[in-house]
Symmetry: none
DNA sequence: GATGAATGAGAGTTCATTCAT
DNA sequence: TATGAATGAACTCTCATTCAT
C-alpha cells in the first residue's frame, strides 16, 4: 500500500507537471494566436507574445524553442481541429449528400462566426513555403481530407461514378472549400457570401450524381 | 517650326526617358520576381534584389519607393495578366461550356509549366492582409473575374438557371480554381493533379446545367 | 553525558555534512573542469555544468554563489596543486640543480600527459584580468614560486652569485616555464617540444653558474 | 591624354576609396583596441565599440563581418607589428648577443611604456583557443620568431653549439619573453621587474655559450 | 540619374541568476 | 537541501531606408 501511495504520489506530481506544462503551452499558443491574427507572423515580435501571454520572455523560450516552433504548433492544432470535425461529421448517421452539405455549412458558419480564422489560417499556411514542418502537416491533413471526401462522394454517387471522377470531385471540393476561405481572407469586404458555399457544394454534388 | 521641333525633340526625349524608365522597372521587377520566388517576400533583402537586378541600391529606390511598392506592383502585373487572359478567352467564339473548360485547362497548364507561379502568387497575395493596396487589387480582380464567369455560366445554362445559382456557381468556380492553386503551393508533392482541374470544372458545370 | 552525546551526534552530523558538502563541491568542480576545458569559460553555460555534474541547477547555486566563484575555486585548486608539487620537490634530498631539472621534467610531463591542462589554465588565468580574486591567487602563488626558485638557485650557484642575478634567474625560470605552457596552449600543433623544457632549464642554470 | 586622365581619375577614385576604407577600419580597430583593453573581449559590447569609434553600428558591420573578425584583425596587426620589429632588429649590424639583448630591452621597454599592451595581448591571444584564425596567426608568428632567434643564437654561439641546443635555446627564449609578458599581465603589482628581462636573456645566452 | 557608404531602431535568442515549492 | 520553472536584461547582428557625392 505504501508503494501504491508512492506511485500515486509520483503519478500525481507527474500529472500536475504535465497539466501545468500544457496549460502554459496553451497560454502561449492563445497569446500567439491573437497576436499573429492582429499583426501577422512577420509583423509580430516575440515581445508582443510575451505581453499578450502575461509570461516572461524566458518562459516562452522554456516552452517553445523558437517563434517558428510556435507557428508550427499552431498549424498542427488548427489542422488537428479540422480533422476532428471531419471525423465527427463522418460518424454522423445521415445520407452522404446531406453530410457534405452539413460539412460545408459548418465550415461556412465557422468562417462567418470567426472572421479572423481564415486570415490567420492563410497567414500560417503560407509559412509552409519556407517551413517544411508546416508543409508536411498540411500535406498530411489534405490527404486525410481527400480520403474522407472520396468516401462520402462514393457513397453519395450511389456507387456508379467512375473512381477517377470521384477523386477529381474530392479534389475539387477540397479546393473549393479552401479557395472559399482564401477569398474570404483576401477580399476587402466579402458580401452575400454567407450561404454561397453550401449551395456551391450542392451544385458540385449534383454534377457528380448526374450521368453525362 | 522651332516649336514643333522643340516639341518633337522633347517628346523624343520623353519617350526615350519613359522607355528607359519602364525598362529599368521591368529589370527590377524581374529580379524581384525571382528573388521573391526563391526566398519569399520576408526572406528577401533589398540587397538580394540589388544583386539580382544588376543595378545599384540607389537605383532600386529611385524607381520604387519601397520594398512594399515592388510587391504591390508585382501583384498588379500578375492580376493584370490574368485579366487579359480572361478577356481574350471571353472574346473567343465558342460555346460557353467549352470556353470554361478551355480556361480551366489553360490555368492548369500554366500551373504545370511554371511551378514557381502558385507559390509566388500565394506569397504575394497573403501580403494583402497587411498591405491594403494588394487587397484592393485582388478585390477588383476578383469582381471582374466573377462577372466574367457569371456571364459564361448564364450563357452555358441556356438562360434558365436562377440568378442566385449562377452567382453561387461563379463564386464556386473562382474558389475552386484559386483553391487548386493554393493546394498546388501548399502540398509537398502534388501528383496526379494535372488533369483534375478541367474535369472538376466540367463536373461543376454539369451540376449547374442539370435541373434538380 | 547527554550533552556529550548531543555534541558527538552533532559532530557526527557536522562531519557527515562537511563530507557531503565537499563531495558535492568536488563533483561540481570536476564537471566545471571538463566543461570549461571543452568550451572555455565564456562558452560554457551553467546548464552545461548542471548536465555534466548530474546535479540540479539549484544545487549548483547552493554550493557556489556564481559561475565566477566556480572559476575562482578552480584556480585556487590548480595553484594549490602546483604549490604542493613545489613543496614536495623542495623537500627532496638532492642537489639543487638536479631538483630544478626534475621540476622542469615533471612540468613538461604533466603538460604532455594532460594536454587539456595548459589551455584550461590559460583560460582560467586570463580571467584574472577581470576577476581580482583570481589575480590575487596567481600573485600569491607566483611569489611563493619565485621564493622557492630563488632558494634553489642560490644553493645551485654555490652561494657566489649576486642576489640580483638570482632574482632575475628565478623570474626568468618562472617566466620560461609558464611561457612554455602558454605556447603549448596557443600553437596549433606543437611538436618536438617534449624534452625541450628540461634542456632549456639546464641552459639557464648553466648560465647562472658560469661566472662572466 | 583623355584616356590617361580618365585612368588617373579612376585611379584617383579607387585610391580615395581605398584610403577611406582603411581609415575607417583603423578607426574601428583603434576603438576596439581601447574598449577591449578596458573591458576585455567578452566584457565589451558592440555598442561600446560603436560609441568609442564615433561611427554607427551599421558602419561597424559594413567594415567587419563580426566582433570576432575585429579580434582576429587586431591579433593580425599585433603580431605583424612584432614581426616588423623583429625584422628591423635582425637587419641591424651588431654582434648577435648584443642584438638579443637589444631585442629583450626593447620588449621590456614596450611593456613598461604601454602597460595595457600585455593584458590586451593576453586577452586576444587566449581567444585563439576558440578562434582558429587567431591560433593560426600566432602559430605562424611563433615559427618566424623561433627561426629568427635560432639564427641569432647560432651566430652568437660562434657556430659550435649543437643544433638541438640552439633550437631548445630559441624555444626557451621565446617562452621566457612571452611568459614575462604573461606575468606582467597576471600579477597584481609587478615590481622590480623592469630590467629583469634583459638580464634574464643575458643569462640564457651565457648558458648557451658556455660549453659544459 | 546613380552610387554605395552610412544609419539605427529593432529582431530573435541566450543565459546567469532567483525563488516558490 | 534540492528542484527546475521562471525571469528579464543584454547581446550580436540585420536590413529597409537615406543621402552626400
Amino acid at each position: 500500500m505504501g508503494r501504491t501511495q508512492g506511485q500515486e504520489a509520483l503519478t500525481g506530481t507527474d500529472e500536475r507537471n504535465a497539466a501545468r506544462l500544457s496549460a502554459r503551452r496553451a497560454q502561449i499558443l492563445d497569446a500567439a494566436t491573437s497576436v499573429f491574427a492582429d499583426l501577422g507572423y512577420h509583423g509580430s515580435r516575440m515581445d508582443d507574445i510575451v505581453r499578450a501571454s502575461g509570461l516572461s520572455k524566458g518562459a516562452i523560450y522554456w516552452y517553445f524553442k523558437s517563434k517558428e516552433e510556435i507557428a508550427v504548433e499552431l498549424v498542427r492544432q488548427l489542422l488537428h481541429g479540422e480533422e476532428e470535425a471531419l471525423a465527427s461529421e463522418e460518424r454522423a448517421e445521415q445520407d452522404p449528400g446531406a453530410r457534405l452539405s452539413a460539412m460545408a455549412d459548418d465550415f461556412a458558419r465557422s468562417l462567418w462566426e470567426n472572421p479572423a480564422r481564415a486570415p490567420l489560417a492563410l497567414e500560417l499556411l503560407s509559412l509552409g513555403q519556407r517551413i517544411p514542418a508546416i508543409k508536411q502537416h498540411f500535406t498530411d491533413y489534405h490527404a486525410t481530407y481527400i480520403a474522407a471526401l472520396s468516401g462520402l462522394l462514393r457513397a453519395a454517387s450511389g456507387g456508379n461514378a467512375p473512381e477517377r471522377e470521384i477523386t477529381a470531385g474530392a479534389l475539387a471540393l477540397a479546393a473549393m472549400v479552401d479557395g472559399w476561405a482564401l477569398h474570404e481572407a483576401l477580399i476587402a469586404s466579402p458580401s452575400g457570401r454567407r450561404e454561397g458555399l453550401g449551395e456551391a457544394v450542392a451544385i458540385l454534388v449534383k454534377g457528380l450524381r448526374s450521368r453525362s
